[in-house]
């Protein structure tokens, strides 16, 4: 952590006071059917929105770090989206985050990964957070790339799929899930960390949290407010173009076996017939 951001704070204490930015996204309710708007080729977001579940893990992790530091520091939520995204962000505030910053601008609509990472990086640059947390992916588009793009733009180290995170001595140390176990990765702060859902069991907001969330600062900023060029955001700033969209292919015919005691033999016969065993 650079000393110039914490003037007047004694050295020892400085390592404890952190500003943590958590990038969050409003996604359609997991229970609802996902629909694509054929004209815009974008996800239809008209229904109920919710905070992306992986981001809830990221908010939880940020709050735990803050609480472990004697509740000192700040947790700020950052998002890019329509104004209604503030409703989902309020859940993060209700959990305990201190304030929310939503970049919402008609010119930012339809941003792809490149354009989104640009706008988010611009917003994050204003905050100069010591730690930037992401959920590893959103459960609407499941890209799992945004944190890498944002880290690249901010020229910060990045750790992905963190299943455990420790902050000490100006460093982030994370256990990174791999196919065969864990990598332990360390990065000097400020850094970007994308957390997996294995990292914690998120709290649910208390009634006081929900009531208090309304009173917390919630800023809606335009692209101009964050110093972003309109031409680099939204569709104009996107480098990818969706050409066509199709529903997932049907799974084909399936055979349902009711277990009357012979299910195992029937499954075996099915596999043998197809020379799979």
């Amino acid at each position: 952590m650079s000393d110039n951001r914490r003037p007047g704070v004694p050295d020892g204490l400085d390592s404890l006071i952190m500003k943590i930015a958590v990038c969050v996204k409003q996604v359609p309710e997991a229970t609802g059917q996902r629909k694509i708007d054929p004209s815009s080729k974008r996800l239809d977001r008209s229904g109920e929105g919710a905070l992306n579940q992986y981001d809830v893990n990221a908010v939880e992790e940020a709050l735990r770090i803050k609480e472990a530091n004697g509740d000192q520091g700040e947790v700020v939520l950052i998002s890019l989206g329509p104004e209604s995204a503030l409703d989902a962000m309020r859940k993060g505030l209700a959990m305990g985050a201190d304030r929310a910053v939503l970049v919402s601008d008609a010119a930012a609509a339809g941003s792809d990964l490149v354009a989104t990472s640009y706008a988010l990086a611009q917003a994050l640059a204003r905050e100069s957070a010591d730690l930037i947390l992401f959920g590893q992916q959103s459960n609407d588009s499941d890209g799992a790339l945004l944190w890498a793009a944002v880290a690249d733009r901010l020229k910060l180290p990045v750790i992905s799929q963190a299943a455990e995170l420790t902050i000490a001595g100006g460093k982030a140390r994370a256990k990174r899930q791999t196919e065969f176990g864990y990598d332990v990765v360390e990065a000097t702060l400020p850094a970007v960390v994308a957390v997996s859902d294995a990292i914690n069991e998120p709290r649910y907001p208390s009634l006081k949290g929900i009531m208090g969330a309304k009173k917390k600062p919630q800023d809606i900023l335009s692209l101009a407010d964050i110093g972003a060029e309109t031409g680099r955001a939204g569709e104009a700033g996107s480098r990818t173009e969706v050409l066509t969209l199709n529903a997932p292919p049907s799974r084909g015919s399936s055979q349902k076996i009711e277990d009357d005691g012979s299910a195992a033999e029937q499954i075996l016969a099915f596999l043998v017939e197809r020379k799979l065993v």
């Binding site: 309020r90 859940k91 209700a94 907001p205 009634l207 949290g209 009531m211």
Partner: protein, 388 residues
């Protein structure tokens, strides 16, 4: 009428659902037949849900009756049971409305934080059921202003899980008062002290459902002068306001139960196939569910009206009672439709239907019998002769 979607209420619903998701059917089944859901109640208390109606100045959330009722509704709609703790939300209302400043300062913050549980309400007696003025538990005023209480209460729910009891006792014998509602006083009883002194005995009563109800024996319970809540002899009126709040909240619980039953029944009727088609295609299955839904929606309107009147400080007694009547009838219709739809499976514990069925049955009888609600409407609203 304004039926605009209220985002604040929706946030409360989501919050309660999130909490309740940690207490699924398995949790409740494991408590049967008579274990108190301490973990569930602790979680609700810790997160401030049961302090919804306590003003902010005393550490509560200071929510409206509508919002408080939404909490109860959502608990029951999530498959959980508010009956274990709803009284912690409203019993304090008597202290809030009739207590002295000292009593409010002393008790309300501790009730809000959960440090003190006030969820036992000693009213009913073995020989005085709905006819509350016939209670014989007597509090005798002693020379130093303190009180000596003797008597017995029954159907005092959660007494074993409460630190305080709001107690209704005669302080003037019935034959010495002008109106039989006079001469009854309300007290706040430190149950732990009385139990330690051996002057109070609590005996659990096993019931149809897991409700932690008891009978309480008061054998020379000593209460300090400051245990009196409100004006001596005017306790009956003091508790009436609280009873109406209770009825609105319980109506909301019944709405929650109805939602749970109807959702479950409709889903199963769309899934289960018998005789080569979904059972929901049979009007004999479909119509009772649809009828229960209509009854629930109608009851819900009365529940919101009663809550609104309460919030406006207007007379709401008959609406609170009608809401409880209609909502308990709707939840019972929904419970039966759900059980019928599931056939034999509805009786199996693992579906939770039989448990919810038993739980919602209570509300046709308690906290006031539906027949007494009808009698109240007939006599007090419609001016017909007293029927009892």
């Amino acid at each position: 009428m304004d039926f605009t979607f209220d985002p604040d209420l929706e946030e409360i619903r989501t919050g309660v659902r999130d909490l309740c998701s940690k207490f699924p059917g398995e949790y409740w089944r494991a408590l049967e037949p008579s274990t108190y859901p301490s973990e569930f109640v602790d979680a609700l208390t810790q997160d401030g849900w049961l302090a919804a109606l306590i003003p902010e100045q005393y550490g509560g959330a200071g929510l409206t009756m509508t919002a408080a009722s939404v909490i109860m509704e959502e608990i029951n709609a999530s498959g959980c049971n508010s009956g274990a703790c709803h009284a912690q939300m409203y019993t304090m209302g008597t202290i809030l409305r009739h207590g002295s400043d000292e009593q409010k300062q002393h008790y309300l913050p501790k009730i809000a934080s959960g440090e003190l549980r006030l969820q036992a309400f000693g009213v009913t007696e073995p020989t005085a059921g709905s006819d509350t003025t016939k209670i014989s538990t007597f509090a005798e005023k002693r020379a130093d202003g303190s009180w000596l209480v003797n008597g017995q209460k029954i159907w005092t729910s959660r007494a074993e899980h409460s630190d305080l009891m709001l107690l209704l006792a005669r302080t003037t014998p019935a034959d010495q008062v002008e109106k039989r509602t006079d001469g009854i006083s309300t007290f706040i009883v430190d149950m732990k002290a009385a139990l330690t002194a051996g002057t109070m005995t609590i005996r659990p009563i096993k019931t149809l459902m897991n409700h932690a109800t008891t009978e309480v024996f008061l054998d020379g319970v000593e209460l300090p002068a400051e245990a009196l809540v409100g004006v001596e002899g005017q306790g009956f009126k003091a508790i009436l306001g609280g009873m109406n709040a209770e009825r609105i909240l319980i109506a909301a619980e019944c709405i929650g139960d109805s939602r749970w039953f109807i959702e479950k029944a409709a889903a199963y009727s769309n899934e289960r196939e018998v005789f080569g088609r979904k059972i929901g295609a049979n009007q004999g299955v479909q119509f009772p569910i649809a009828r229960a839904y209509a009854a629930m929606e109608a009851a819900n309107l009365m529940r919101y009206k009663a809550a609104w009147l309460y919030e406006q400080g207007q007379a709401h007694g008959s609406e609170a009672n009608m809401a409880k009547l209609l909502a308990s009838e709707a939840s019972w219709a929904a419970a039966n439709a759900c059980l019928d739809t599931h056939g034999g499976f509805g009786f199996a514990e693992e579906y939770d239907i039989e448990r919810k069925f038993r739980e919602t049955r209570l509300y046709s009888v308690a906290p006031v019998s539906n027949n007494l609600v009808l009698a109240f409407l007939g006599q007090n609203v419609l001016g017909m002769p007293r029927s009892y």
